[in-house]
Symmetry: C2
Subunit: 425 residues, 2 copies
C-alpha cells in the first residue's frame, strides 16, 4: 500500500468506493434539489449527498463563526462563502470530523440521518454560485503559442505583452450554466476570408476549451489592489470550466475589442466547488517565468496545482473517446497572479466572482486543451472510437471534461462538466 | 410660447423650475437614502424627491399589476423593473396622474405628504440597479474612425467587421459606481514603444468616454435570440455612462483579447433611469447604414434618439469648462441593433443588464466624446477656462457629463454623472 499523505484523512463511516472523486478528505460544496423539490447546499462523500442545512438543523454546525446557518438553505453558496476562507475551512473540518469513522455523534446517535443523507443520484445538482463577475484568462503559454502560430506568426506566436502580464478579458455571466445543460449551436456572422463580406449562419467551428476556474470569497474596496501575498485568502475553491467557443464567429468579430458572440452562448461548469484546503497538498512549481515578472506578480515557487484534466467526446450512439489529457500544472500564470493582476488597477472583487484559466494546453499533442489545437485548425482530424472523425463538435455530440488531483493514494476529484450540442434553431 | 409636443404633460402641483431636468413628464426612477438612513426607490419632480414606497403605502400605487409593492423598498430597482416594460410604464403614468395639477388625491387630501415628498438635496442618490451583465459597445462610427486613424491607418480606419455588426465587449460590473463617487487613478503596465519592455506606474493617459447606456427589464432563455422587432420590449430606460479609460494601460494590454485593466477601475453612471416612454418623442433617424445590415439587424428608420450629451472638466479651484457637446443621434448602431446582436448567438439577458453605447463622437471637433479624440492623442491640448490645458485628466480634476433631450419646450433631463480623480496610491 502506498504511504498516505500527511494530510490523508481518517476513513469515513459512509462508504467511499475505490477511485471515487469524493473521499472524506474532499468535502466539496454544491447546491442541489432534493427529490421533494427543496433546494439546499450539499457536500458529497462517495455516492452520498449530505444536506448541509439538515446537518446544521441538528445543531452539528454550531460554533463555527457562521452567524446565520440558513446560508445552507439558499439556492447558491454565495452567502456561505461570504463568511470567508477561514470559516468555510472550519466548516469543512467539522464535516470531516462528523463523518470520520470513529465519530459517533451522527453515526450512532438517535438523530435522524435520513434527512441528512441521500443517494447522490437522487439530488439534481444546480448552479453552485450566483456568478458576479467573470474573467477568462489566457494563462496557458502552450495554448497562446498554438493560437498565435495558427493565426499570427509561427516564428513569434506570442504577442509582446503575453510574457509580462496574465492577459484576460471580461466574459458573460448570464450564459454560464451547470453541467448537464445542453447548449444550442450558435448562429452568427463569420467571414471565411476574414476581410470580405461576412456570411450568416450556424457556427461551423464549435469548440470546447478545457479550463479550471477559481471562485472568490470576499468583497474588496474599489481602488484597493490585492497584493500577491494576500491573494490566496480571497480564493475559496475551484471547479471545471468548459469555455465553449465558436471559432469562426470569434475570428471575424474579435479585433479590436476581443471575443464576444464567439463565447457568450454558453459556458459549462462542474457543480462542485473543491476547496483550496483540499487542493493544498497538490501544489507544484509552475513553469519558469522568463522574463522575471514585475514585482507585483512575483510569487511563491509552488504557485501551481497538479490537477489532471481530461476531455472526451461521446457521440450520440454512446461511444466515448478521450481526446485530451492536460494538467493545470502547465499554466504559466497562476491563480494568485491572475487575481492580483485583475485588481492591480483598483478593480474590486466580490464574493463569487469566477476567474477561468483559459484553455490549458500542455507540451504534448494529446494535451492540447481545445479542438482548434487538437485538429490544428481542422488540418489534422481527431479520430473517435466509433471510426468517425472530428475537427470541431457535431450536433448531438456530448463533451465531457473531468478533473482530479491524485497523489500517494489520495484522489480529490472535481466530478465533471458535461454538455450536449443541440442543433442551431 | 412654443407649441407643446403632443405628449406634453399637464403641469404639476409640485414646483418645477424652468429648465429643470425633471418636469412631470420625465418621472425617472432611482434609489436613494433618506436623511433617516432608510433606502427607498424614488422618482423626482423638479427639486422634489418622491419616495415611491411611501406613495405606495398610501394605497396610491395599487391596481397596476405590480404584485408586491415592497419592490419600492429595496435597495435597487431590479425587482421593480422585473415587472416588465408595460407595468413600469403604467406606474409612471400613475405617478404623472397623481402629481398633475388638477388631481387632488394627494395634493389636497388628509394623507401625510411629508413622508412622500422630500427636498431632492436631502436624498443621497445610490446605485439605481444591481448590474447583472454589462456590455460596452463601440457604436459611434466617428469614434471608431478617430481611434482607427490615430492607431491603425488613416486611410482605412475601420476594421473590416465594423460596418457589419455592432462591435462590443463584456465589461466589469463590480466597478460601476454612481455619480459622486471619486475614482482613483489606476496603476498598471504600459509600454511607450508598445512592443518593448513595459514599465509600471500610475496611468499617464486617464480619459473619460461620454456614453449612454440602456437597461433591460426581462429574463430570456439561453439559446433564444431576441428578434429586432421585439428588442424595444426588453429595454426599460437609459442613463449616462462615463467609461473611464486608461489609454496607456489599454494600449499595451488589449491585443488580442480586448480592453481589461484599462477600463475596469471605474465607470460612473447617473443615478436616474429615464424611461423609454419619456424618450419616445425624441426618436430620430440614425445615420444611413451602408452596406445594408444583415436582415437580423434591419430596423425602423427612426432608430435613434436625439439626446444631447455635454462633458465638462471642473478643476480643483472650481472653474468649469465645457469640452464636448455630442448627441446619441450620431450613433451608427442603435440600441435595438445592439441588443439583438448581443443575443444573436442565443446569449440570454436578465433584468438589469446594462448596455453602454461606447464613446459617442459627432462630426465636429467639439463633439468628440473622449479626451483621446479631443486632444488627438495629446497633440492638440484642450484649453480650460482657468488658462490651464489638458491632454488627459489630472489628479483632482472633476469630470461631469450631463444629458438631456429637448424639443418644443419640453426638456427631459438625465441629471449628471460626476467623478473626481484621486491620485494613485
Amino acid at each position: 500500500m502506498v504511504k498516505k499523505a500527511k494530510t490523508s484523512p481518517l476513513r469515513s463511516w459512509i462508504e467511499v468506493p475505490e477511485g471515487s472523486d469524493f473521499p472524506l478528505y474532499n468535502i466539496p460544496f454544491g447546491v442541489g434539489r432534493r427529490p421533494n423539490g427543496k433546494v439546499r447546499c450539499f457536500t458529497r462523500i462517495g455516492n452520498t449527498a449530505v444536506d448541509l442545512y439538515m446537518l446544521a438543523s441538528l445543531g452539528l454546525m454550531d460554533e463555527l463563526g457562521i452567524p446565520d446557518l440558513r446560508v445552507f438553505k439558499w439556492a447558491s453558496l454565495n452567502d456561505f462563502f461570504a463568511n470567508g476562507r477561514e470559516r468555510v475551512a472550519a466548516a469543512r473540518e467539522r464535516i470531516i470530523n462528523i463523518f470520520s469513522e470513529n465519530n459517533p455523534v451522527l453515526r450512532t446517535s438517535h438523530l435522524d440521518k435520513t434527512k441528512v443523507l441521500l443517494p447522490a443520484d437522487q439530488v439534481q445538482m444546480l448552479m453552485p454560485i450566483k456568478v458576479r463577475d467573470y474573467t477568462d484568462f489566457y494563462s496557458s503559454k502552450e495554448h497562446a503559442e498554438h493560437v498565435g502560430a495558427m493565426f499570427r506568426d509561427k516564428s513569434s506566436p506570442l504577442q509582446p505583452n503575453w510574457l509580462h502580464l496574465p492577459v484576460g478579458y471580461h466574459g458573460r455571466t448570464s450564459s454560464i450554466v451547470v453541467s448537464g445543460t445542453a447548449i444550442r449551436r450558435p448562429k452568427g456572422q463569420s467571414s471565411p476570408s476574414n476581410a470580405g463580406k461576412p456570411v450568416f449562419g450556424p457556427s461551423k467551428a464549435l469548440d470546447f476549451e478545457a479550463e479550471t476556474a477559481f471562485i472568490t470569497c470576499s468583497n474588496t474596496e474599489l481602488g484597493q489592489p490585492i497584493e500577491i501575498g494576500q491573494a490566496d485568502q480571497h480564493i475559496i475553491g475551484m471547479l471545471i470550466f468548459n469555455d465553449l467557443s465558436a471559432r469562426d464567429i470569434q475570428q471575424w468579430e474579435y479585433v479590436p475589442l476581443g471575443p464576444f458572440q464567439g463565447k457568450s452562448f454558453g459556458s459549462v461548469i462542474s457543480p462542485w466547488v473543491v476547496t483550496m484546503e483540499a487542493l493544498e497538498p497538490f501544489r507544484v512549481a509552475g513553469p519558469e517565468q522568463n522574463p522575471k515578472p514585475m514585482p507585483y506578480l512575483q510569487t511563491r515557487k509552488d504557485r501551481n496545482f497538479d490537477i489532471c484534466i481530461e476531455a472526451s467526446i461521446r457521440t450520440p450512439e454512446g461511444s466515448e473517446t478521450l481526446i485530451c489529457k492536460t494538467n493545470t500544472r502547465y499554466l504559466y500564470w497562476s491563480i494568485d497572479q491572475q487575481l492580483t493582476h485583475q485588481t492591480l488597477n483598483g478593480c474590486n472583487i466580490r464574493v463569487c466572482d469566477l476567474y477561468a484559466s483559459g484553455a490549458i494546453s500542455g507540451p504534448e499533442p494529446d494535451s492540447y486543451g481545445s479542438m482548434l489545437e487538437l485538429s490544428w485548425n481542422g488540418s489534422n482530424p481527431i479520430h473517435l472510437e466509433d471510426g468517425t472523425q472530428r475537427t470541431f463538435l457535431n450536433d448531438h455530440d456530448t463533451l465531457i471534461i473531468r478533473a482530479f488531483a491524485e497523489k500517494q493514494g489520495m484522489r480529490i476529484g472535481f466530478g465533471e462538466s458535461v454538455t450536449t450540442v443541440l442543433p442551431a434553431l
